[in-house]
Symmetry: C2
Subunit: 460 residues, 2 copies
Amino acid sequence: MSAATQAFIRERRSQLLDELKTFLRIPSISTLPEHRPDIDRAAGFVADSLRRAGLENVEIIPTAKHPLVYADWLHAPGRPTVLCYGHYDVQPPDPLELWISTPFEPTVRDGNLYARGSADDKGQFYMHIKAVEALRAVHGALPVNLKFLIEGEEEVGGASIARFVAENPARLKADVALVSDTALYADGIPTLCIGLRGLVYTEIEATGPSRDLHSGLYGGAAPNAVFGLIELLSRLKNADGVIQVPSFYDDVEPPAPAERESWERLPFREEDFLEEEVGSACLTGEPGRSVLERVWARPTLEVHGIAGGFTGAGAKTVIPASATAKVSLRLVPRQDPDKVVAAFRQFVAAQTPKGIQTQVRVLSAGPAVMVNPDHPAIRVAAKAFSDTLGQPTVFIRSGGSIPIVGDFATHLGIPTVLMGFGLPDDGLHSPNEKYRVENYYLGIMTIAHFLEEYGESGVA
Amino acid sequence: MSAATQAFIRERRSQLLDELKTFLRIPSISTLPEHRPDIDRAAGFVADSLRRAGLENVEIIPTAKHPLVYADWLHAPGRPTVLCYGHYDVQPPDPLELWISTPFEPTVRDGNLYARGSADDKGQFYMHIKAVEALRAVHGALPVNLKFLIEGEEEVGGASIARFVAENPARLKADVALVSDTALYADGIPTLCIGLRGLVYTEIEATGPSRDLHSGLYGGAAPNAVFGLIELLSRLKNADGVIQVPSFYDDVEPPAPAERESWERLPFREEDFLEEEVGSACLTGEPGRSVLERVWARPTLEVHGIAGGFTGAGAKTVIPASATAKVSLRLVPRQDPDKVVAAFRQFVAAQTPKGIQTQVRVLSAGPAVMVNPDHPAIRVAAKAFSDTLGQPTVFIRSGGSIPIVGDFATHLGIPTVLMGFGLPDDGLHSPNEKYRVENYYLGIMTIAHFLEEYGESGVA
């Protein structure tokens, strides 16, 4: 990257950190209505930052829920256009008592910046703005055309941006999207994520008797909604974790041999994964497949929660009238969410036990995404990453889901560079969320470098 | 019964009702610590009532939790001794907003007395005291020897009385116990309950990963505590409701042909039971057995509640670290609770899925009880009941469990006359609990009549 840009960023480290801290002090918790004023303050902060960075047409766009922030700079004719995405909303900080420093007073300890939103995602997408600001200051112009689309609903489903992308493909037209909302494979290893699983998230409600019944007086003759739901859910997977919904695996493809080989070269140790991350008696899942294949390239079904009947202290002898479970399916490339939803609904209906009625509500359904590692933007991003961190870039997948990446693919027809600078132990959604301060600076540099090189590569 | 006793009771109807109302105004909720003063007031009220009725040696006996009230009258040599039991504590009244009149201001509407505790059990055991008071007033003495033991923990497990009975068999020695905490089979039908199911109540806790995990990053390789618990619980019964714990049915005996025939003569309609009481799509349970056999004479297993993972509004993608379920087994005569507990523990351990750890906590374990309908006290009770209500007495079982009846059998070696005057729709433990005012008066008369006849029968 240009020495001037590098020097500009390096000299301003303390100011860059202070600005991010100011942003992190806004408790923009999207799920809590009482924080709506903070959501608006955060959107305003983002808009101001974009203006100061030299972006134009900055607009706070109202939606059915929380506002989007749009901005652009389109004065690099013949150069590619990059669509930068991020989200200014954060998860609630509970349980508060587990935080060492308060969640909305950013605090540096041991080289980490502790605050809710530091890694997810304020600290990461703010790097995009700061990289652009640096490039403008150094060169007086930008190496690529840029659009920014920042949302405030990522932690609550992201419905508004999904709708906006679907309805405004012309306005958002770009060659590639840039998202920093992922982590390095490990500290110091430049990492591009080229695959994300899709997600179908559902809620199943089971009802039995019209009210909770006394289990002494009715036990043996009345259906039990909790047990009915248990019976149904137990049929969804076999003991090896293989999903029993017919035709579910029809479109699943194994990872390419080259990709599989590259995973084998990663510094992955199953014992560490079990002991340091999972912490259970043993790992589980489909036999004969590696852990990385199971979490990155295989579809899964999980029950996230279940509630029904009496769960207080002591004994209460009810036959519960209703019960609910949250069930999701992670999808891999080529699986069609609509087809999966239909097969899932059919299976639930067919397997609902006698005397029980079930209802499936689909809360969201998005496909998996794969990016071709030979795409010019990915190649340039990999080089920029390697240059900054001094190591070869690794290509990984993530078992998680970033629905907006699917929306960009579907509605804009563009791939996404997933260039994140978090670390696996950043504690997203947990107490003591952190972001490594050094990675914040490295991220700004790497993004600036990527934009310079991508612009110069001339590929539009 | 003696015309004088009958007249005495009839003339004092309004006073009898007022006295019960005073008792019902004390919110003696045993599970809520802030009501401890009300528990003490209720115990004091019971002690005073016993004294006024002419009982002697009235004692409020402190326990580890709520006090017992004891009293006796032992001046009928050669006559049998009756041990009267009841409980002065009540269930919490929630949800309050569903009550038509407030739960602790007793209100008569349509011939029913609405109040928490009106049927369960203040209004019922108070009849014993009032019957004794009437007999003393009319005859100057009592037709039998009497002991009263009233507890304040029935709604929270009854541990103190169980211990007291086990430790004081000599003091409580009697020929029969009298309990009014059940209902008529239907309004106007004199009913003696001669069988109760036993109850083993457990809590199963399942743990998987050491903390809630992100289902995208770990789904496919990490065990899920909620799903593990679901798998385990689903194996406890087959689709017909048959319990799969080995040897569980070994000691179960079918009801005698005569008992089965008597059930067939009861005015039971399966359609009404389904539509008016259960309210589900259909009834369930073991094929080839009648509803009454299934709820009265077959053991069952129910999951009363389950909790684990995320159950709030919307979507959260966790792999839960832990989950808990409340599971009980209802037992029939000859099943040994200790044997059942051991087999259950073994089954749970053997069926716990890979990667999951389970722990079974047994909250209570009591056997089923059967009373011989040819016992002299039962024969006299049946006659007294028929005399008062003008119909033949029916002998039924209840699928419920009254642990104290088992304790009386085990530690005192005596049967219990279960002579209750509630109705199936009294709403015990529910909002708008009620007790039919007429049944309160009929109960006092029937109990007085029973004590007179049982004393005269001379069988000690």
